[in-house]
C-alpha cells in the first residue's frame, strides 16, 4: 500500500560469465544481491533490500542430461523445457514434467527455472513434491565451497531455504530409477484450472520382484505444511509391507496426519488422504508394468 512495495530500485545489474565470478559477487553482496534467471519471482516480489541483480543466465546452466547416473537438470533450465522434454516424459521422471506443467502459465514457464522454483521455497511450490518423491538433491556452489543438500533438507521454512547468500544452485540431481519403480503425482488447484495448488502429492514406489511388497517409497506433499515435505512416517509404515488397499489407506491417513496445514486444515488433510491413496495405487500399477 502507498508505495511500500514498489520501492524496488536495484542499482547494479551484473551478468557474470563464470560461476566463480558469480559466487564471489554474491558473497560480496550478501542479502543485497539476488540471483536472477527468469525473474518470475524476483521481479514480482520486488524486495526493497535487493540492490543488485546477478543475472545467472550466462553460465551455461540450462541443460537436461539423462544417463545411467540419473537425471541432471541445470539450475536455469526453464520449466517449459522440462515440461516438454520427451526424454523425461518417457520415464518415471515424468512426474517432474507434469509438475513443471502445473506451474503458473506458459508465459511464466517460458522464463521460470527449476532452481528458481525451488529457491523460492514456497510451501506450495508445484515442483517440490515431485522432486521430493524422486529424491532430488540440490547441488550448490559457494564462495570457495560446494555442497549437496537433499531436497528434503533444503527447505527451512515458508519461503526460506538453507541456501546461503553466497551460494548458487547449479544443478538439481535426481538419482537413477531402479527397476520396478512407479511414479505418480497430482495437484488439486484452488480456483478454476490455473491456480496455486490447494494440495499436491507425488509418489515414487519401488516394488519387490514379485510386485507384492513395497521395497522403497517416497511421498512428497506440497501446500499442506509450512514447507514442502516428505511423509516419512507414512513411508516407513509402507516399506517391506505387502500391498493391500488397507495398507495404502492407512499410509495415506498417516501422511495426512504428519502434515501441518495452515488454513482449511480439515479439507487439506482429507484431500491429502485421497491424493496419497490414489497416487500410491497409480504408482504401484506402473511399477507392476
Amino acid at each position: 500500500m502507498n508505495g511500500e512495495n514498489t520501492y524496488f530500485r536495484p542499482k547494479l545489474y551484473s551478468k557474470p560469465s563464470s560461476i566463480v565470478e558469480t559466487v564471489k559477487l554474491l558473497a560480496e553482496l550478501g542479502e543485497r544481491g539476488k540471483p536472477v534467471a527468469g525473474g518470475t519471482d524476483v521481479m514480482v516480489e520486488k524486495r526493497r533490500e535487493v540492490e543488485a541483480l546477478v543475472d545467472i543466465t550466462g553460465l551455461n546452466l540450462s541443460y537436461i542430461k539423462m544417463d545411467n547416473n540419473g537425471l541432471h537438470l541445470g539450475a536455469t533450465t526453464t520449466l517449459y523445457t522440462i515440461e516438454k522434454s520427451e526424454e523425461i516424459k518417457q520415464t518415471p521422471y515424468r512426474i517432474l514434467a507434469q509438475a513443471a506443467h502445473k506451474v503458473g502459465t506458459p508465459l511464466i514457464r517460458n522464463m521460470g527455472t527449476i532452481a528458481g522454483n525451488i529457491c523460492n521455497a514456497s510451501p506450495s511450490s508445484d515442483t517440490s513434491a515431485a522432486l521430493l518423491a524422486l529424491g532430488a538433491v540440490v547441488r550448490m556452489v559457494g564462495n570457495g565451497k560446494k555442497r549437496e543438500v537433499p531436497l528434503d533438507k533444503f527447505f527451512a521454512g515458508p519461503f526460506r531455504s538453507v541456501k546461503e547468500h553466497d551460494e548458487l544452485v547449479i544443478e538439481i540431481y535426481i538419482p537413477p530409477i531402479a527397476s520396478r519403480t512407479g511414479t505418480s503425482a497430482s495437484w488439486l488447484t484452488k480456483n478454476g484450472n490455473v491456480d496455486e495448488s490447494m494440495v499436491g502429492v507425488a509418489v515414487l514406489v519401488v516394488l519387490n520382484k514379485e510386485g507384492e511388497k513395497i521395497e522403497d517409497v517416497r511421498i512428497g506433499l506440497l501446500s499442506v505444511n509450512p514447507t514442502p515435505m516428505r511423509a516419512v512416517q507414512a513411508e516407513t509404515a509402507l516399506i517391506g509391507k505387502k500391498i493391500s488397499d488397507t495398507l495404502l489407506k492407512e499410509a495415506a491417513q498417516a501422511a495426512a496426519a504428519e502434515a501441518k496445514p495452515r488454513s482449511k486444515a480439515d479439507y487439506r488433510r482429507s484431500m491429502t488422504v485421497h491424493l496419497v491413496e490414489t497416487n500410491l495405487k497409480e504408482a504401484i500399477a506402473e511399477a507392476r508394468g
Partner: protein
C-alpha cells in the same frame, strides 16, 4: 471460410431485408486494436507531464489525527502534495450522469474527494502527489506521515442495520441509506393457501471488474484555461462534477473519453478524473495518473454482495402464488450508485415470472467495507441466484420438471412485473429455455465413478436503457460530405463492445453511405453532442436511436432530391452502396455524392443533429416502487453441464450454452461476443471469483489471488440468438451488454444440484464446502 462459433440465429417471422444491418461485419477499430495502434489512456504522454499518485487510507475506520506532508512535499522531484484543504469543493455526487431529472438519494453521503478528518474504508483517498517521475511520486507516498486513531467500524450488514451500530457517517440516523420494496396483493393470505412453500437464505460475494486496462488518464489546462481530461471513462458527462470540484463553470471542463480496455461498470463512477483534474489545475502542468492493479483491487468499487431471504409459495399445479423476500446489500462506506442498484435489484427481485402476491423489501446498508457500485448487470445478477434456486426448490418440492415449472410462470408480453409495469415487447423465455437445454445435448458419460455429471439451466431478465424517471436522452449529429462520405458525432464512449461500430452501421443502412466512408467521432464532451453514458445496456437504445433519427432525417432529404433527379417517386428510391437508385429499375441510379452536391448547392448543409428521448416516468419517491420504471427488458436463458469430483468437491463446467432475444442483431458477430464475454464473467462469479475483506481489510490484491477465468476455465460455448424485432432500439433491437451475466451462476448451481444433490446457496462454489456437503449428503 471463417471458423464458425457454434451459434444459430433464429429470426423473427418478418425477416426484413437490410443492406448492412444484421451483417457479420468486422469492427472498424479492430485491425488498429490488434495491431497495437490504439492510444489507450496510459499510452498518451505530453511535454512537461507530471506523474500522479493517490495516498490512501490503510484503516477501515479511523480519525485522522494528524497528517504531515512536508517530507513528501520536499522530496526531490515532487511538485505538489494536495490534501482536502486544497480542494475547492470537496464533495462529488456521482450524479448528473446524462439525465435531467433530480437525483434524490444519490447525492446523500456523496463521495468525499479527499478525506478530511476521518476515513471510512481501507483505500479511501487522503492525499494526491504529482512529481516529475513515477519513482519520485512513489517515494513521496512513503514519506507522508499520518496518525490514525481507530474508530469502531461496522463490517456486517445485519449488524450495521441495528440501532446500536456505529454510524458510518456520523450525522446520519441510520446506516440503511436506501430501502425499496415491491408490494402487490396480500402475501400472508396467499401463503395460507399455498400447497408448497420453500424458504431459503442466499449470499453472494464481492466481484472485481478486473478489466485488463487499469484506470488511467491525463489532464491539462489548455491555452484558454479549459481543464482537459483524456481519460478512460464510461461517462464523459462527469465534466460537470469535475467542474464543481474545481469551482469552475461546467463550460470550462472538457472530457475526452478514450477507447477503453474494458469497463464493465468499473469506469462508470469517476476514478482518476478528480485527481488528475485537481493536480493539473493546481500545478498548471499536465498530469497522468494510472492505477496499479493493486490499487484497482482495494481502491475501486466492487459488485455489491447481497444476503437474500426468499420465501416462495406455489399451488400443486406449479403456479406461483406469492413471493416474500428481503435482500440486503452492502453499500460500503459511500453510496455512489448503491441507491440505484438497489432499485434495479428490487424491480427484478422476483425474477422473470408473474407473481400475483409480492412483498419484497430491499435495503442498502453503509458499512466500513469497500464501497460498492456499478458492475455489469447492476444489482440484477445477485437476485437471480436466489430466484432461480427458489424455482428449482419449488420444482423439487412439487416433483415437477423445473422447465415445466418455469413455463407455467414466465412473464409474457402483456404481463405485469412486480411494479405493475406492463411488458410490451416479446418475452422469448420459453424459446430460449428450450434452445439452451437442447444445446447441451445428453449428459456426457464419465468413466470414473467418483465424477458426477449434472445439467442445469436458469432464466433471467435485465432492463436496457436507464430508469425512465431519469429522462434519459442521447444526441447524435450526422453530416454528409460533398464526396458522399459522412461524419457521425456522438458523445457516447466506447468500451470495446462496438458502440462506435453500431453508429456507423445504422448510419450506413439508412443513408446508403458505404461503411468505409463513414467516420465516427465520439466521446468528446465539448465537440460531440452528448450521448449519455455507456452503461445500462443503453448504447443501442439511446445512441443508436439518436443516430437513427439523424440518419432518417438525412435520408428523407436525400430521397426527396433523388426522386427528382431520378425522375421517379420517393417510395421508389432506395439508398445503398453509395448510390441512390430506383427499386423498380436498378440501372436508374446516381452516386450519393451527386445527390449531396445538389442538395448543398441549394443552401442545405445536409447536417442533422437529433436528440432521442427515452420514455419518461415520474420519479420514484416512495419505498414501494410502482409503475413503469424501465423502457423494456431483455430476456434469456443459460444452461451448463458440470462435472463434480465428489472426492474433492471441485466443479468443472464442461458445456455452456446461452440464448437471448436481442430484438435485432445489428451485428451478430458482435452480439455473440457480448454474450460469450458476459457468460464468462458469470462463470467466474459462479466458480472462482471472490474478493475478500476481513473486518474491512482486503485480503486478495493481485490477479494471482483473485482469479478470473482463463482460456482453460471456459468450455466451448454455444450461443443462440433470437430476434423478435420487438425491442425499442433501432430496427427493433434490445440491449445485450449486461443480460448475459445474469443467468450463469444459478445455472451452475442448478447443474451441481443435478450432479450431486447438493444445492449451494452461496456464491462462489468453494470446493471444500461442496466436498463437506456431499459427504453429509451421503451420510444421510
Amino acid at each position: 471460410m471463417a471458423v464458425k462459433t457454434k451459434e444459430k440465429i433464429v429470426k423473427a417471422k418478418e425477416t426484413q431485408q437490410y443492406h448492412v444491418i444484421g451483417k457479420r461485419l468486422n469492427g472498424m477499430d479492430d485491425m488498429a486494436k490488434v495491431s497495437g495502434q490504439i492510444v489507450y489512456a496510459d499510452d498518451y504522454s505530453m511535454e512537461r507531464m507530471l506523474h500522479g499518485r493517490v495516498f490512501r487510507s490503510v484503516k477501515p475506520s479511523a480519525k485522522i489525527k494528524a497528517i504531515d506532508i512536508s517530507a513528501a512535499r520536499n522530496h526531490p522531484g515532487v511538485v505538489t502534495v494536495m490534501t482536502y484543504k486544497d480542494v475547492p469543493f470537496n464533495r462529488a455526487a456521482t450524479s448528473a450522469v446524462g439525465q435531467t431529472a433530480s437525483l434524490g438519494k444519490v447525492s446523500e453521503f456523496p463521495r468525499i474527494v479527499l478525506a478530511e478528518d476521518r476515513v471510512r474504508f481501507y483505500g479511501e483517498p487522503i492525499a494526491l502527489i504529482a512529481a516529475e517521475t513515477q519513482e519520485a511520486a512513489e517515494e513521496a507516498l512513503t514519506l507522508i506521515k499520518i496518525e490514525y486513531e481507530d474508530l469502531p467500524g461496522v463490517f456486517d450488514i445485519e449488524e450495521a442495520m441495528k440501532e446500536t451500530a456505529p454510524r458510518v457517517h456520523e450525522d446520519s440516523s441510520t446506516n440503511v441509506h436506501s430501502h425499496f420494496g415491491l408490494h402487490q396483493g396480500d402475501v400472508d393470505e396467499a401463503f395460507k393457501h399455498a400447497d408448497v412453500i420453500v424458504e431459503n437464505v442466499y449470499q453472494t460475494q464481492y466481484q472485481e471488474h478486473a478489466h485488463m486496462e487499469p484506470e488511467s488518464g491525463v489532464a491539462w489546462i489548455d491555452g484558454e484555461g479549459v481543464i482537459n481530461l483524456r481519460v478512460a471513462t464510461q461517462v464523459i458527462e462527469h465534466y460537470r462534477e469535475i467542474a464543481h470540484i474545481l469551482g469552475l463553470p461546467e463550460s470550462k471542463v472538457r472530457v475526452r473519453g478514450t477507447l477503453m480496455g474494458g469497463g464493465f461498470g468499473g469506469k462508470e463512477d469517476m476514478t482518476v478524473e478528480p485527481y488528475i483534474a485537481l493536480l493539473a489545475w493546481h500545478t498548471g502542468r499536465p498530469v497522468k495518473l494510472t492505477y496499479s492493479r493493486e490499487e484497482m483491487m482495494y481502491g475501486r468499487h466492487k459488485r455489491v454482495p447481497y444476503k437474500m431471504y426468499y420465501k416462495h409459495g406455489a399451488t400443486k399445479d406449479g403456479k406461483l402464488v406469492a413471493v416474500e423476500a428481503k435482500l440486503i446489500g452492502d453499500a460500503g462506506a459511500y453510496i455512489y450508485l448503491s441507491h440505484w442498484i438497489l432499485l434495479y435489484t428490487t424491480v427484478h427481485a422476483t425474477g422473470p415470472y408473474f407473481v400475483p402476491n409480492v412483498k419484497v423489501d430491499c435495503y442498502s446498508v453503509l458499512t466500513n467495507n469497500i464501497f460498492t457500485s456499478a458492475f455489469r448487470s447492476f444489482g440484477c445478477m445477485q437476485p437471480a441466484l436466489g430466484y432461480e434456486a427458489q424455482m428449482d426448490a419449488l420444482a423439487k418440492a412439487l416433483r415437477m420438471d423445473p422447465s415445466e415449472l418455469r413455463l407455467k410462470n414466465y412473464l409474457k408480453t402483456g404481463s405485469k412485473t412486480g411494479t405493475g409495469q406492463v411488458i410490451e415487447s416479446a418475452v422469448m423465455l420459453p424459446q430460449t429455455q428450450e434452445a439452451v437445454i437442447k444445446a447441451l445435448g445428453p449428459k456426457a458419460n464419465t468413466t470414473k465413478l467418483h465424477i458426477k455429471v449434472g445439467q442445469g439451466f436458469a432464466s433471467g431478465w435485465y432492463p436496457y436503457g436507464r430508469m425512465c424517471y431519469l429522462h434519459d436522452t442521447s444526441s447524435a449529429w450526422i453530416g454528409m460530405e460533398s464526396d458522399g462520405s459522412a461524419v457521425v458525432r456522438s458523445g457516447i464512449p466506447d468500451l470495446g463492445a462496438g458502440q462506435r461500430e453500431s453508429l456507423r452501421q445504422i448510419t450506413s443502412e439508412l443513408t446508403g453511405v458505404p461503411l468505409d466512408k463513414i467516420h465516427v467521432i465520439n466521446a468528446d464532451s465539448q465537440l460531440t453532442p452528448l450521448g449519455g453514458t455507456v452503461t445500462a445496456s443503453r448504447g443501442l437504445l439511446m445512441s443508436g436511436n439518436a443516430a437513427r433519427l439523424a440518419a432518417e432525417a438525412l435520408r428523407g432529404q436525400m430521397i426527396l432530391q433523388a426522386a427528382q433527379m431520378l425522375k421517379t417517386t420517393e417510395s421508389d428510391v432506395d439508398l445503398a452502396n453509395g448510390e441512390a437508385f430506383s427499386k423498380r429499375d436498378n440501372s436508374n441510379k446516381i452516386p450519393i455524392s451527386a445527390l449531396v452536391k445538389a442538395i448543398k448547392g441549394q443552401g442545405n448543409p445536409l447536417e442533422v443533429l437529433k436528440c432521442f428521448h427515452a420514455p419518461t416516468a415520474p420519479p420514484v419517491t416512495d419505498v414501494v416502487i410502482t409503475g413503469q420504471i424501465f423502457t423494456d427488458f431483455t430476456f434469456g436463458s443459460q444452461a451448463v453441464e458440470v462435472e463434480v469430483d465428489t472426492l474433492t468437491g471441485k466443479v468443472n463446467v464442461t458445456k455452456f450454452a446461452a440464448a437471448y432475444d436481442v430484438g435485432r442483431a445489428i451485428n451478430p458477430k458482435r452480439v455473440e461476443g457480448q454474450i460469450q464475454g458476459g457468460m464468462t464473467q458469470g462463470l467466474g462469479f459462479a466458480i472462482m471469483e471472490e474478493f475478500v475483506e476481513n473486518k474491512g481489510i482486503p485480503e486478495n490484491l493481485t490477479l494471482r489471488t483473485y482469479k478470473i477465468p482463463t482460456s482453460k476455465d471456459v468450455p466451448e460455448i454455444k450461443v443462440i440468438i433470437f430476434e423478435s424485432g420487438t425491442g425499442f432500439g433501432p430496427f427493433g433491437a434490445k440491449g445485450i451488454g449486461e443480460p448475459p451475466v445474469v443467468a450463469a451462476t444459478p445455472a451452475v448451481m442448478s447443474a451441481v444440484e443435478d450432479a450431486v444433490g447438493v444445492r449451494l446457496r452461496k456464491s462462489p462454489v468453494h470446493s471444500d464446502d461442496l466436498f463437506n456437503k456431499i459427504k453429509e449428503q451421503s451420510g444421510k
